[in-house]
Amino acid sequence: GAGVSQTPSNKVTEKGKYVELRCDPISGHTALYWYRQSLGQGPEFLIYFQGTGAADDSGLPNDRFFAVRPEGSVSTLKIQRTERGDSAVYLCASSLDGADSPLHFGNGTRLTVT
């Protein structure tokens, strides 16, 4: 497929558990982004990778959230000790160069913390 792929599409977990959300960006895109979208709201920035490094993680809400992109392609967003307030759709996006090209989003992972 040509688009950004996110797995799983839905994830239900219990409060306090650990979750991992995966993102496969568009092939050749060097920039990768994670956003979070709550119901009825626009997406909110979490973190941006240029290559393997996190160039901007200012949107991560606290130290329970962490993301990696070890080989500059696939990224994993990790959430420790999940809380009910973490329930949202987690969107991944990629862009060709992180500068002048638009972001292309995946369909997201809907996380529900019970």
Partner: protein, 113 residues
């Protein structure tokens, strides 16, 4: 704080009519603006973008207008079709750097038959 917002949360138009979705922004440092369409259960889909050195840009059936004087952005959709029904978001950012976009809360466009 500075934010991007939309004037109307909902908009209903007749099929075949033109649609205009408005957006206000307040961050004077933003020089890049983008419109996304989001259908239920899907991620935002890129529609069109514009940089601050332009005041108008056209795509297929869509036009984005930027008025920097009053910090206003609009998306015009010509001959609106049922498939255009979705939530539309405007977002702002800074070109040439990490593309940390700030999104508005969205406008629900409904196309009536």
């Amino acid at each position: 704080g500075e934010s991007v917002g939309l004037h109307l949360p909902t908009l209903s138009v007749q099929e075949g009519d033109n649609s205009i979705i408005n957006c206000a922004y307040s961050n004077s440092a933003s020089d890049y603006f983008i419109w996304y369409k989001q259908e239920s259960g899907k991620g935002p889909q890129f529609i069109i973008d514009i940089r601050s050195n332009m005041d108008k840009r056209q795509g297929q059936r869509v036009t984005v207008l930027l008025n920097k004087t009053v910090k206003h952005l609009s998306l015009q959709i010509a001959a609106t079709q049922p498939g255009d029904s979705a939530v539309y978001f405007c977002a702002e950012g800074s070109s040439g750097s990490a593309r940390q976009l700030t999104f508005g809360s969205g406008t629900q466009l409904t196309v009536l038959p």
